[in-house]
Amino acid sequence: MNNTPILELADVTKSFGKTQIINGVSLAVPRGERHAIIGPNGAGKSTMFNLISGRFPVSSGKILLDGNDITAMPPFEINRRKLSRSFQVTNIFHRLSVYDNIRCAVLWSLGYKHSFWRSLNRLKDVTELANHTVEEIGLGAKGEALAGALTYAEQRALELGITIAGGAEVILLDEPTAGMNHSETDAAVELILKVTKGKTLLMVEHDMGVVFGMADRISVLVYGKIIATGPPEEIRGNKAVKEAYLGEEAV
């Protein structure tokens, strides 16, 4: 069996000007794990995602995807290596239909690249995969609707759909249930579990119910440093975590 972690961060730091946001984070995520990152606001969780997905360059350290160095790669190169991410603030193609949003998300991974000599409508694999994904995220009835005209919850579902449609092996979800009510959150969790089955999942999440219900392991990020990593029970019992984080909010 392949024992290399699918995603590995080695002593990664990031500063903006003089402010250091990430202070040497090391983390290894094994294949197939559902890993949650929690921590107080401003701990650098989103920044960490931005570093992994190539949105920002790291200041120092290394990021390995399946053993390959992806540290200095632009986002599209990293995406082509089967790492995909969602955004905390919905980030979709507003003036395209739901269906076309998903089609755009699968084109590269199905190998169509910049093809301008084939009719998009005649590509069977694209059509099938897009239809499948649109159904899966529960927007089957809204396929022709403009993405910009969807409700918030629908746009969050579409955001997730764009992220997973290309068949990425490693999926980063940035607060997938932010701004949702209870029933919406439950539906979103169910959806996430369904569409990321068999994949490696790394997620930032504030809803502790979601985190402790879903994650195999949890890392706690405080002031740009991981202070603890372990299974939910262990994190729940961890003294440092309680002091730094849970102590204030979870009571």
């Binding site: 995406n79 998300a105 169509y112 910049h114 301008f116 009719s119 022709e144 290309g166």
Partner: protein, 432 residues
């Protein structure tokens, strides 16, 4: 108004479906073929030739503006260089240096456009948005400046040639203008078809995605710069074809082909026609060329009118003519079109009165500033009068004031008739 806009954009792709789309395409193919049989004066044929060239150029431009969100102020570079390629090729054929059928010469123009599209596009597509606009303008100015310096551009006189050369295919030698018209019409159809087909490919869709959200495109595996670069290169092929056809049509290529004015034309056409619909630029190209040829004969103030129309479109109808037309689809489909007619007539009459006043005012001032040496008598709309007296001025101001007053009222009449029609559609939908 925001309701209306949402509908119109949603209707873009599925607006015409099935049979209606076929009817549209058949008209698009048949009309250019039979038009010269109906309007057979040489004036009409030369105008229609000009329209054909403008259509290709505008469609090529909208590959950037509407489809990719790239606002270019230097598209004339590819048009003009395509033209220079073809005019030099014509001269070389004339001199017997090589043989190439004139029918396919526009391909060389396309090649010229492509070569420069690749080299300049590499630089300009590194950026999007406002920066791209500035860079494209800078490159346009660079080539314009180069054309007055480098001998290959023929200086201010330009390069001229003779299109009747070689034996031609099937004895067509492109002497008579009608043959040129059909050459242009043929290339316009082929280009339009290719540009339309291109919008239905994976690249065509990704270009839209990069327009909407370049960042997200990066996170689904695409390099936005690369996507923009490819579409710019492809678009410059068609600009080059248009330039090549212009070279064959006018038998001269000069600096004017590379000028900022030439770059502004497709922008005006595309925007006035509507950037979000495939037929928008076609509509714009036909309309603007028509006005340019017809109105341009009567008045030197033509560019001013053009500028005012453009500004009004930007302020009040950013969806363009095509967008305005398509907005009516849901109402027409519900059979409520008749309800809009009275308020439209109202607006038309009052608008015409206002327009009459504005045009008169502009023409008076123009006469005073540019043709005062020929006296203060002038003729406008077939009426002669002396603008030294105050009477014409009073009439003019009165026309504008009255027209404006009623036009404002007509506008609110239009919006209330729209609202009632939309409300009825919504009402009947919720009943179902």
């Amino acid at each position: 108004m925001s309701d209306i806009k949402a509908i119109s954009i949603a209707e873009v792709d599925k607006g015409m479906s099935g049979i209606r789309r076929w009817v549209f395409w058949i008209i698009a193919v048949v009309a250019p073929l039979i038009l010269p049989l109906i309007f057979d004066s040489s004036y009409a044929i030369s105008m229609m030739s000009q329209m054909g060239i403008a259509i290709i150029f505008a469609l090529s431009y909208n590959m950037l503006l509407g489809n990719s969100g790239l606002l270019s102020f230097g598209h004339a570079v590819y048009f003009g260089l395509g033209g220079y390629f073809v005019i030099h090729a014509l001269n070389a054929i004339d001199a017997g240096k090589f043989y190439f059928p004139v029918t396919f010469l526009p391909l060389l123009g396309g090649l010229g456009g492509l070569i420069f599209g690749i080299s300049f596009g590499y630089v300009s597509t590194k950026r999007a948005g406002v920066t791209f606009a500035m860079i494209s303008m800078g490159i346009g100015e660079l080539m314009f400046a180069a054309s007055s310096v480098l001998p290959i551009f023929g200086g201010e006189a330009g390069v001229s040639s003779n299109r009747v050369t070689g034996t031609g295919l099937f004895g067509i030698n492109y002497g008579p203008p009608i043959q040129i018209y059909y050459l242009i019409a043929g290339w316009a159809m082929v280009s339009a078809l290719l540009i339309y087909a291109l919008s239905l490919t994976p690249l065509g869709r990704m270009v839209n995605a990069v327009r909407d959200n370049p960042e997200r495109a990066e996170f689904v595996g695409y390099n936005p710069q690369r996507v923009r670069f490819i579409i710019l290169a492809l678009s410059s092929i068609f600009a080059g074809i248009a330039g090549g056809l212009a070279a064959i049509n006018y038998e001269i290529v000069s600096q004017e082909y590379l000028s900022a004015n030439q770059s502004a034309m497709p922008l005006l056409m595309t925007y006035i026609g509507g950037t979000m619909h495939f037929f928008g630029p076609v509509l714009g190209a036909i309309l603007v060329t028509f006005l340019q040829v017809v109105v341009g004969v009567y008045t030197k103030a033509w560019p001013l009118y053009m500028g005012i129309v453009f500004m009004i479109m930007v302020l009040f109808a950013p969806q363009g003519l095509a967008g305005l037309i398509m907005q009516h689809q849901p109402i027409l489909r519900a059979g409520l079109g008749a309800r809009l007619i009275p308020s439209y007539l109202y607006a038309m009459v009052s608008g015409l009165i206002m327009l009459l006043g504005i045009i008169s005012l502009v023409e008076f001032i123009y006469h005073l500033s540019t043709e005062i040496h020929s006296g203060t008598e002038m003729t406008l709309f077939g009426i002669s009068f002396d603008i030294a007296s105050s009477f014409p001025w009073v009439i003019t101001i009165l026309l504008i004031a009255v027209g404006f007053f009623f036009f404002r009222r007509a506008c609110s009449a239009i919006s209330s008739s729209w609202n009632s029609a939309l409300a009825e559609i919504k009402g009947s939908e919720s009943h179902e």
